[in-house]
């Protein structure tokens, strides 16, 4: 079966000379939820915009369900539903009209039953004839999702769907996304929150400065990235890691007054995991190494990106 999306050697350089994407290669499988992770300005939206036909590519190729997005753009675009990041929606239209418009625009025959089902599923049925400007931000975002789904796409793009969305709505949105996946729709979402990817995605791609740094199954990635650090401020300066602590993954600061233990959150009570903390502290007490403060911190996504970029 052809992949839902196949990207080969894709690059984009804007007129000003800014290279937003550099030789991106990526296959997205049918029926998966793929999270594209990256900081602001990494190239996530540019990538989506090229696939959807909003931005012209500079090089490489993209196919959607086997259709090239330039040579065979009509077939490719028919397969795609797009929910952009910004709340860009016609304020004087009604949810009913705008969803029906979207369906027509994508070349599908009118289907009032389908529009009705969609609006009901996204709790918009009682607002179907209200002007969109009178709806709340969360409702507007749901209208945009309904518009994107109105032509029954095989692939759905959600560009930062949870920006400015409250917890309740986020939860129901993820429920809908899972339902869509069950019905066979491939979903690609972008986010800069690792937790979001963790919550919903099957696979994760990390993009930074226009490079796709890695694509990995979510579980493997979480294990790789889910490291924490314990920072201990010592009373006395040490010139080297005390021999008694040699069995731990420690680094000593230049001043010799701070040691940092790196451990895995999923490591369990023994060995390298959280259990390592208590063993370390016990060892320090037994050896008479005094400390006056300690704290833990999780690597931020930003740091993970820097680490990944440094490695690539």
């Amino acid at each position: 079966m052809t992949p839902a999306i196949s990207i080969k050697g894709l690059s984009k350089t804007y007129a000003g000379g800014f290279a937003a994407l550099k030789d991106v290669n990526l296959d997205i499988r049918r029926g998966e939820i793929f999270a594209l992770l990256g900081p602001n300005g990494a190239g996530k939206t540019t990538l989506i915009s090229i696939i959807c036909g909003i931005v012209k590519r500079s090089g490489g190729s993209v196919t959607v369900c086997g259709h090239d997005t330039v040579q065979d753009y009509q077939a490719a675009r028919k397969a795609i539903g797009l929910v952009p990041q910004e709340l860009t929606i016609e304020h004087f239209e009604t949810p009913w009209d705008t969803a029906s418009f979207s369906r027509g625009l994508f070349g599908k025959a009118p289907d009032p039953k389908l529009i009705e089902d969609l609006l009901k599923r996204f709790s918009l049925w009682d607002k179907k004839d209200s002007q969109i400007r009178r709806l709340s931000g969360g409702m507007k975002r749901r209208v945009m999702i309904c518009k994107a789904l109105a032509h029954e796409p095989q692939v759905l793009f959600l560009d930062e769907p949870t920006a400015g969305v409250d917890v309740e709505l986020r939860k129901s949105m993820w429920d809908q996304v899972r339902l869509l996946r069950e019905s066979g729709v491939t979903i690609i979402l972008t986010t800069h929150y690792l937790e979001e990817a963790e919550e919903i995605a099957d696979r994760v791609g990390v993009i930074s400065h226009g490079n796709l740094i890695l694509t990995e199954d979510k579980d493997a990635l979480m294990k790789k990235l889910g490291k924490k650090e314990l920072v201990i401020d010592l009373v006395e300066a040490h010139s080297a890691i005390p021999p008694a602590l040699s069995g731990f993954d420690l680094t000593l600061s230049e001043s010799g007054r701070r040691i940092t233990l790196t451990y895995e959150t999923g490591g369990g009570d023994t060995g390298e995991g959280v259990g390592g903390i208590s063993r370390l502290l016990e060892k320090m007490k037994a050896d008479g190494i005094a400390y006056h403060d300690l704290s833990t911190r999780q690597s931020t996504l930003e740091e993970i990106f820097i680490r990944l970029v440094g490695r690539s």
């Binding site: 804007y14 007129a15 959807c52 036909g53 909003i54 931005v55 012209k56 753009y73 009509q74 077939a75 490719a76 675009r77 028919k78 795609i80 797009l82 952009p84 910004e86 860009t88 929606i89 016609e90 304020h91 004087f92 009209d97 029906s100 418009f101 979207s102 369906r103 027509g104 625009l105 994508f106 070349g107 599908k108 025959a109 518009k147």
Partner: protein, 257 residues
């Protein structure tokens, strides 16, 4: 270029644009109709008593075709430029750009809607003028044909302006600084034969002169310039605008960066 025309998309855009016109009926149709009708009441009644006839036609009747032309060409530009500029301004253009439509469907939808709206405006003005002015239309089919071609051509021009403009000032620039003077000097209120010879020649560089002349010919059988030449001018103008629009879609100018 598309192999098959996405008729449903054209219909969706047309319906959407017409619904927008209905929502703003006063602004889109009533207001241009009212101001044009006021023109020929005031000009026809006040000035018409002093200039009794132009080429054997009462002055009030003489100015009707020109005024209709003037209104529909500025309305065509305004309808089409706003229709495409607003989605660009608000960002909703993403949907058109990501839809399985070619330039043919987009043009049929947006330009078609703008032209339909301005044709409607023109016909309403014509209808109302029957109550005030003794009118007769010698060549009704030609009249409708010229009206349609003019509305389509200037809607295309409006579409180009709407894509070119980067802000509201630019959007108004061409209509206010180019189209308004040309249309006022296009012979709505006078026959260019009434001008000194030098100004007659200069007037021939004004494309609106040809539009008004041939439109007036379809009413009264009198033309300032030969109808064939008028037709060629407006036909050329239409094709030039169409080519520019095709180029815009081919290159993605101001649409897909």
């Amino acid at each position: 270029m598309s192999a098959t025309l996405n008729i449903r998309a054209v219909r969706a855009i047309l319906r959407y644009e017409m619904a927008r016109a209905r929502r703003a009926l006063v602004q889109s149709i009533v207001s241009p109709v009212l101001s044009t009708v006021l023109y020929f009441i005031v000009f026809g009644a006040a000035i018409g008593t002093r200039i009794s006839h132009v080429g054997g036609i009462s002055y009030a009747a003489f100015i009707v075709p020109g005024l209709i032309m003037q209104t529909v060409l500025s309305q065509s530009i305004s309808f089409a430029s706003f229709a495409i500029y607003f989605p660009r301004f608000t960002g909703t253009i993403y949907e058109i750009l990501s839809a399985p439509v070619s330039f043919v469907e987009v043009i049929c939808g947006y330009v078609g809607a703008a032209a339909m709206k301005s044709i409607t405006t023109g016909l309403i003005i014509l209808f109302i003028s029957f109550f005030f002015v003794p009118l007769h239309i010698l060549h009704p089919l030609w009249m409708v044909g010229f009206l349609t071609l003019t509305c389509a051509a200037f809607s295309l021009l409006g579409f180009i302006i709407g894509i070119w403009a980067d802000d509201f000032e630019q959007l108004q620039l061409v209509p206010l600084l180019v189209v308004t003077p040309l249309s006022f000097l296009g012979g709505s209120f006078y026959s260019i034969k009434m001008l000194p010879p030098l100004w007659q020649k200069i007037s021939l560089a004004n494309p609106v002169v040809y539009l008004i002349s041939c439109f007036r010919w379809s009413f009264y059988g009198h033309a300032d310039v030969p109808v064939g030449i008028s037709l060629a001018v407006i036909g050329t103008f239409f094709i030039v605008c169409l080519s520019i629009t095709a180029w815009i879609f081919k290159t993605g100018y101001r649409l897909r960066n």
